[in-house]
Symmetry: C2
Subunit: 337 residues, 2 copies
């Protein structure tokens, strides 16, 4: 029986307008991918990343091109990478997770079990507070009461006001995502201020490609660093040793679960910490990441929690930890709507 691959639009409306250093956002134009083989269907999702030249149309075109190149869907750990269209990484991730879903469904086991993992090892997951006025920030922090860790996206002029508003609203741990927004000249002073505010670590203070300056900064920094934009795939990791303390793996950046597992192995070999992050995604992609979360130190898998309505249900947050479903494959289902 042939392999069928379909994709269709998946519009995700945000609960709050989301402001980052890259501008505001209300709706995310994601792509749903279905892979059908021998009567089973696997689900995947692409959240195209504009910074890397992706949008929904380019992702859909890439998925179509990949359809013709996949010969054996059972080879789920190799097939998406080998069929991928260069530069269309979120499409690769969508096909990769659909193949993993399909494999788990076919064998009747949840993905974490297919991969030989223990879902009781679920790590704590943080909740991201978007940039906004101090009043809105205070309200968002209150709404996020169920999450044990907060993440604050910075990189604009009113960083301190924003962070102070969060700190004044809670004594939970705060992590800062600088989103490449700082210069080497200002970074150290900002880090010292953040350390004084009880911040736990900072993600990507300097732009990607400035690893030498990161290395120098790290020698004097009071806070640890996680790489985000500096790291896409496993091969990026060796050169980051010494520049960052950990890496943030996102399925949409790396091309899917198989590559994420390889990245975890490489990061560990270098003694680095691992975080699993996400884009704005439905429960399809969030749940895919949740299945491998037992292998990481910490998660930032809140992309679906920022949605006005998540069209799917899957991983849940239990006592602040992200737990994958105990159902075949990814275990996601359309939410009755």
């Amino acid at each position: 029986m042939p392999l069928l691959i379909r994709s269709r639009a998946l519009d995700l409306r945000l609960r709050h307008t989301f402001r980052t250093a890259r501008g505001p956002s209300d709706v995310r134009e994601n792509l749903l991918v279905e892979v059908e083989h021998q009567g089973e269907t696997g689900l995947g999702e692409a959240a195209p990343i504009r910074r890397y030249g992706e949008d929904r149309a380019s992702a859909a075109a890439a998925v179509s091109a990949m359809a013709g190149r996949l010969d054996d869907p059972r080879a789920y750990s190799l097939a998406a990478r080998e069929a991928a269209v260069p530069g269309q990484v979120s499409a690769e991730a969508a096909v990769d997770m659909a193949l993993h879903d399909l494999a788990g469904r076919r064998l009747g086991v949840p993905l974490f079990e297919l991969l030989g993992l223990d879902r009781r090892r679920a790590p704590e997951t943080s909740f991201t507070i978007g940039m906004d006025t101090p009043e809105v920030v205070a309200r968002k922090v209150k709404e996020a009461a169920a999450y044990p860790i907060l993440k604050v996206k910075m990189g604009s002029a009113d960083d301190r006001e924003m962070l102070t508003a969060v700190r004044d609203s809670t004594d939970r741990p705060i992590r800062v995502d600088a989103n490449e927004g700082w210069t080497p000249e200002e970074a150290l002073e900002r880090l010292r201020w953040l350390a004084g505010m009880g911040v736990e670590f900072v993600e990507q203070p300097l732009p990607a490609g400035r690893e030498e300056e990161m290395r120098a900064l790290r020698r004097n920094s009071p806070l640890p660093f996680y790489a985000d934009e500096s790291v896409h795939r496993a091969r990026d990791i060796p050169k980051l040793a010494g520049a960052f303390d950990g890496i943030n793996i996102k399925l949409m950046k790396c091309g899917g679960l198989a590559e994420a597992l390889r990245m975890i192995a490489v990061a560990r070999a270098h003694g680095m910490k691992v975080m699993l992050g996400c884009m704005i995604e439905s429960s399809i992609a969030i749940t895919a990441a949740a299945h491998i979360a037992p292998l990481v130190d910490t998660a930032d898998l809140d992309g679906n929690l920022l949605l006005d309505e998540d069209p799917f249900s899957g991983a849940t947050v239990v006592d602040g930890r992200i737990v994958p479903p105990d159902a075949p494959g990814l275990g996601v289902r359309p939410r009755p709507g």
Copy 2:
């Protein structure tokens, strides 16, 4: 239903007395491990490595200790490592492969399929010619006619005579395993001579721990190097970049299939080649390695071919390539007789 783990002696008699730089050998005292859970049994094998303080008794004791520490056999990619007894790596490998066998049998799929691999990617496997007189060497080369690549173990005074005897008997590619037997002073001259003999690469020319001297040697070497004794686990690999062109992964050195997969990821991230090697092993352990062989560049999985009688059947060599069975789990069976 509880998890039962048993082990028993597995004596492997060699076809030829096997001479390496470490001395002669007629029988290998391996250990068979069975893990039983919910009516299914998974098989594993330990080939204890004397150089690392292991023997059959220490491996059996380690397996017993591990039995009490394994709570969830479904977590096959983590469980053996976490239950392992420090320093008893071949026992860890045996339990790891038994858990993989069990997982595949329980789900009714061959291990390569459980892991999402494509068994059509089987790499060529080499056949090892032990040290002996030129006459015996010539006969061994003839017996190995089915194997496309020969490996010669060196490290003694009559290296050249031995290698010349092989070269005179065949025009197949030859690989050399120096088994830590050279000094930095003599290495370059030997390498030049071997290059002239059409040798493809050299394994572990200098003793483990001399990575700085390896790095210097590599700059002038006409032949590429594979690490063997210098590399055990994934965390050893980053410091070998620049000193070796590739690594030789052996299940008995690294603790099993899960760690081997992590090592492949790390080696690839460093742009290194990967070989899968073995000890003297029955078809249990050889077949375990064959299931992940689609991920490597080349295999040296001949440990079972050197036996007078292999008590198990499993992976086969087809057109010089090592192919795992298409049967649940490892797919090994006791050989009638």
